[in-house]
Symmetry: C2
Subunit: 156 residues, 2 copies
């Protein structure tokens, strides 16, 4: 079960990375749909969401706290974004960090509660474990991969 | 494990359905990105892919065989599509059918091989079971939900 979810994580990231590798910084700077998020915002958004995920899993403190606002709370074009090259590098480093952290967890720890649920509530809602957090983030990656795919095809 | 995947299926479908409910037939007839798939094609595409999924799972014959070509092999605008209203009704019926079929499977049957792998190969690749097919289709729904979300926001 745990290995199936971790494989799902790897698959989601690989799909995103394969797409991203075929998209230039210039293309990333374009909006996917007129007036909506640019590719570069989506990349930063995934980094910020996964940064928060590590915190929720109790595996690390926020590495890029200022990006929580920039890429989660604020919509695109609210403030200048970091350069695409920096986001790409950060993304790779973060993916490595996450894989390492994931590997260190035992099966029991995967089924333990995450940081957003109290010990009392976890008794009645045992599905709110670490593994479930990763499952929802896998879905989230696929959601935005579908959007990134449009960027590639639209500007190809 | 099985119930976690089935919950993932329900969540993916609910997210899609919530979005779809807020999108008119007129909006569905629009392209998500200029020159790319229309919303109505995405809806038909999900139906065709899930129709094929039931076959791969060994749970049913194809219900809409002609849509395999129309919504999987051919890109959008290759041929006239069925009306959105018919696709919406078909989608609902299919979702109900799938939930019923899923409920009838035992845990052991979920971990049994699917129709695209032979008994011999399954010995070496036991992860190619029914549950894994559903996991990949969940990812697929999220991929296109991300695109449908753009349609809603772009034309709102």
């Amino acid at each position: 079960m745990v290995s199936m979810v971790l494989k799902g994580w790897d698959n989601a990231l690989r799909e995103w990375d394969d797409l991203l590798a075929g998209i230039s910084d210039e293309q990333l700077a374009k909006e996917i749909v007129l007036g909506r998020n640019r590719g570069v915002y989506l990349l930063g958004h995934l980094i910020a969401v996964h940064d928060e995920m590590l915190k929720i899993l109790g595996l690390a403190d926020l590495q890029y706290p200022e990006w929580q606002t920039l890429f989660i709370q604020l919509p695109d074009r609210s403030a200048p974004l970091p350069p695409a090259a920096l986001l790409r590098t950060t993304w790779k480093q973060q993916c490595d960090l996450i894989r390492n952290k994931f590997r260190q967890l035992t099966v029991g720890q995967w089924f333990d509660r995450h940081r957003l649920i109290s010990a009392e509530n976890f008794v009645n809602e045992p599905h709110r474990n670490r593994l479930n957090v990763v499952l929802t983030r896998i879905a989230h990656v696929h959601h935005h991969t579908g959007q990134l795919a449009l960027l590639q095809q639209a500007t190809a």
